[in-house]
């Protein structure tokens, strides 16, 4: 059960595939045009229910409840071997001399 007032993410279908704009590439035109919006749940509900939220600016939007306090999953990735020692190489090659 997700409680009223929880910070949640909902999903909406804005356009069905047949309603989409003309001249789209093939891999896009057969897909629905969807949106995700976050805000405060206005009533108790379960994941997957159609719910109403209040957005951070106080507008009301209806959609399917996806998750509660969705975490930010993007990060710094891993060190990329091809990049990590660029500065060291450049310093050795061009900057480590007596005139600097």
């Amino acid at each position: 059960m997700v409680r009223k007032g929880d910070y949640v993410e909902i999903k909406l279908v804005l356009l069905e595939p047949e309603e989409r704009a003309e001249h789209l590439p093939d891999d896009t035109k057969n897909l629905p045009f969807e949106a995700k919006v976050r805000g405060y749940l206005l009533h108790d509900a379960n994941i997957g229910d159609t719910v109403e939220i209040e957005t951070p600016i106080g507008r009301k939007v209806k959609g399917i409840l996806l998750s509660v306090s969705p975490p930010y999953r993007h990060n710094f990735g891993k060190p990329i071997r091809e990049l990590i020692d660029i500065g060291k190489k450049i310093r050795e090659r061009y900057l480590e001399d007596k005139d600097g």
Binding site: T28, L31, K36, F76, I80, I86
Partner: protein, 470 residues
């Protein structure tokens, strides 16, 4: 006609309501012309006014640095007497961490002044963050519409970070799947809310960036006694080039050459669900840079105030791997860590400087903030996950969406010169579709549109059999 196309017909009416009554139609003349300078001055702000307004909300007067270690390296790898000096304008110091704050500030000021309840902007991210940051300071509501996910719900790290940042400033953020209907949805929201359209492409958006070119011109003159020889500008929708060049002219630097630079993503389709997450750059690339130069008016306002071909003296393309290399180089030898997309023009500036005499001055006019997602490691980790090969080698072997090649040495940084003539011809072809006769006033307009000081346009018209009616 589909649902989207039908709704878009309401656009002129909605635009008028959501742009403070700015009436674009009164600037048009003939079949193809419009009075550009009159449109720009119609909003009634001088460059000094704009500077003051920007200052109120923590925008502008960013520092400019001489990149001393980098400049030493450039001298070492250039022929004797060559290796121009590079200066970097650190735009990450603006309120929202990019030059886009300049673009947003005046729109949001205008929205407040005219009594709007809120502002709406569509964006790949940095601009949304800028509008949200400005709206927070002016106590306006803000809605941001952003293309974020593919159909599997996957978003690439840079986009996710930019979405987070919009949210961080308290905006309502619409994160959408891939497709040009982003414009449609922004229009639906404008119609529904009556908020101000803080479009990137109004005269407000461009006037704000004029301050950037102006600051560069004034500061270089003060420190070095003359205008910069070149300003390298990361080019996407055209506003950055347009505003910077106009500001340089305001500062008395008419002869400074303005060079656009984009990341080469040719071959990837911008509206493709499959290609969407195979781009490691979400702005500053050819997917925007080329089509917006050819047809600037493919935007969310009736006439785009960003007209890059009026100002651009050259157009250079760099590869994704080169920009990532440059980003790490900047951090490790200059001690400033900045976001990759903002280093696009810096990447071209290094090989460009090698070909210029050592007394020349190049200004790289932007940087952007860095953070989780907005970082070469994050982008390349994700690219590898999407099946893209990352290797060391010749950066010209880069294949957008398939292969990212990182140079082994700074000497291998390069660029490809995109022929300006081709873009200008494509622009003229597009503008003159179905037209067989134009007036001499329209000819003058076209010549201004493509910065033609000789008879490029006249030759094109002759070749295409378009008559000029005196």
């Amino acid at each position: 006609m589909g649902k989207v196309e039908e709704f878009m017909r309401k656009s002129p009416e909605i635009m008028k309501k959501c742009l403070g009554g700015l009436d674009y139609e009164k600037f048009r003349f003939g079949k193809i012309g419009f009075h550009y300078e009159e449109l720009m001055s119609s909003i009634g702000y001088s460059i000094e006014d704009v500077g003051k307004i920007l200052k109120e909300t923590k925008v502008g007067n960013t520092p400019m640095y001489e990149l001393k270690n980098l400049n030493r390296v450039i001298k070492k790898i250039s022929r004797k007497g060559y290796g121009a000096k590079i200066l970097l304008k650190d735009e990450a110091a603006n309120a929202s961490g990019s030059f886009k704050s300049r673009r947003a500030a005046l729109s949001v000021y205008e929205a407040k002044k005219k009594g709007y309840e809120g502002v709406i902007a569509e964006t790949s991210g940095n601009y949304g963050a800028a509008v949200a940051s400005q709206a927070a300071q002016r106590n306006l509501k803000c809605i941001i519409v952003q293309e974020v996910f593919d159909s599997k719900g996957i978003g690439q790290p840079e986009i996710l970070e930019k979405g987070r940042k919009c949210e961080a400033y308290g905006a309502e953020v619409w994160q959408l799947t891939v497709g040009p209907e982003l414009f449609y949805w922004a229009l639906v929201l404008l119609d529904e809310t009556g908020y101000f359209n803080a479009s990137l492409y109004t005269p407000y958006g461009i006037k704000g960036i004029e301050t950037l070119g102006y600051e560069i011109g004034i500061e270089v003159k003060e420190k070095y006694g003359r205008c910069p020889d070149y300003v390298l500008v990361t080019h996407a929708g055209g506003g950055n080039v347009t505003g910077t060049a106009r500001g340089l002219i305001e500062a008395g630097c008419e002869d400074t050459k303005v060079i656009g630079v984009s990341v080469d993503l040719r071959g990837l389709h911008m509206a493709s669900d499959h290609d969407f997450n195979r781009k490691s750059f979400t702005t500053g690339h050819t997917g925007f840079g080329v089509p917006f130069a050819i047809n600037p008016d493919r935007v969310d306002v009736p006439i785009n105030a960003a007209r890059p071909l009026r100002y651009m003296d050259g157009y250079l393309l760099v590869s994704q791997g080169e920009v990532f290399y440059t980003t790490i180089l900047l951090a490790q030898i200059e001690g400033i860590e900045r976001g990759p997309a903002g280093n696009t023009s810096l990447s071209a500036a290094i090989p460009f400087a090698r070909e210029l005499p050592e007394d020349k001055i190049i200004v790289v006019q932007e940087t952007e903030y860095t953070g989780a997602g907005k970082h070469p490691f994050a982008q390349l980790t994700f690219a590898e996950k999407m099946g893209i090969e990352v290797s060391i080698g010749n950066p010209r072997d880069n294949i957008p969406g398939k292969k990212i090649v990182i140079p082994e040495d700074v000497k291998e940084l390069g660029f490809e010169e995109y022929p300006m003539e081709d873009i200008k011809r494509s622009y003229l072809k597009h503008r003159l579709k179905g037209i067989d006769e134009i007036s001499s006033k329209e000819l003058k307009f076209l010549k201004e549109e493509v910065k033609d000081k000789e008879d490029f346009v006249e030759k094109f018209l002759f070749e295409k059999g378009v008559k000029i009616n005196a």
